[in-house]
Symmetry: C2
Subunit: 230 residues, 2 copies
């Protein structure tokens, strides 16, 4: 029952603010740099392969992406990459870390409407420092009771988060753009999930599955949250 | 008053387990790789300079260290570093991420003795995934109520942690090896700090200051905690 909800957790990247397009933009530049060695789409495939291989070592976030790009550049060029190009990759990463934060339309309206009625948390993967910095730049920090950075968004992490919040799963609603990370594990443990799609999704987050569940709502845009909660 | 303490927070690296020697060992190997370009101690100084410059972008942890080594290698070699050597740096980083965890003598004894009497948390900087992994490997995970990863260990972060724990500063004791990160900010907000030195300290954490404060105890080894708390 939506009436039971006490805590709303918002995913951050591509739910509160624009993120994936920044990665895609840098990946595009990276593939262009590597076009002397391999066609664009092959570089892109090699990069994804390296990212997947490195996931258990590095986890998510810009620094991991950066290290995977360096590794891919060396591999794709069979070692002939110039160090000035590796420097350029590092610069691209630093530009990403310092990029302005673009809050998604409707987010502030929703946060204003639900604050005070629910305890709001931000729950995200990725790098702590980077997510804190983005929250600060977004101007949304004051809406949140606290932020939770997790190394993975699977059932055990959500169970821990809910226990930590001192509530039952039925009191917890997760709102996010990833069916895989924000919705399925949450429904599996008896909590609620609202899916708000973003126009582009990282390949590793794509699931080909239609969700049907009594605790689930498929929304079109973030402001649809208000139709269901009020 | 030590009798008021409800929560004990333990720093992780070089308090629960050995850490800095792993960094120093890799730095030594890195400086040896670079000796064709600059003497060992000059490479070391350049690396520290790069690390300090990158701190606000990258934060703490192995991935940051790794990216700073790559950047330093390119700089020190004036771009003539071979990509096979950059690959070697990346490998050194992955070895660090997968290194076994060496729990410091006496830690388990102390945790066993205080568990149940106090709520125990692990409070550390660095990379979430890496710290979670080390806690898992250490076999100490079950002692802790939860872990708190912070991007910096300064007064605001400790205030937030204490608020989050729903206690007063006087109820909080921090135990760690860094006067700068584990002790001074904690004393400044009215909480308690026990300093347990480790034989080696990262240059950025060194402070040249004698601490005198009614909420402070200088210990020699971790098991001295028990003399003061029991």
């Amino acid at each position: 029952m939506l009436a039971d909800i006490k805590v709303i957790a918002f995913d951050a990247d591509d739910t509160l603010w624009v993120n994936e397009p920044l990665f895609q933009d840098v990946e595009k530049k990276f593939c262009e740099m590597m076009e002397d060695f391999l066609p664009h789409h092959s570089v892109s495939r090699e990069l994804l392969k390296t990212e997947i291989q490195n996931l258990s070592d590095y986890g998510y976030g810009i620094k991991s992406f950066l290290l995977s790009m360096v590794e891919t550049a060396i591999k794709v060029s069979a070692g002939s990459i110039k160090s000035s190009e590796i420097n350029r990759i590092i610069e691209l990463g630093k530009e990403m870390l310092n990029a302005p934060v673009e809050v998604i339309d409707g987010v502030e309206e929703v946060l204003k409407a639900v604050q005070g009625k629910y305890r709001l948390v931000m729950a995200t993967k990725g790098d702590l420092l980077d997510q804190e910095r983005k929250l600060e730049k977004s101007g949304l920090a004051d809406f949140f009771h606290h932020i939770e950075i997790v190394s993975e968004k699977k059932e055990p992490q959500y169970e821990k988060l809910i226990k930590h919040l001192d509530i039952e799963p039925a009191h917890f609603l997760m709102i996010g753009n990833s069916i895989k990370s924000d919705i399925l594990p949450v429904l599996n443990i008896g909590a609620h999930g609202f899916h708000v799609p973003f126009h582009t999704t990282w390949e590793l987050e794509v699931v080909d599955k239609k969700v049907e569940h009594e605790n689930f709502q498929q929304l079109e845009k973030i402001t649809d949250v208000l139709t269901h909660l009020n």
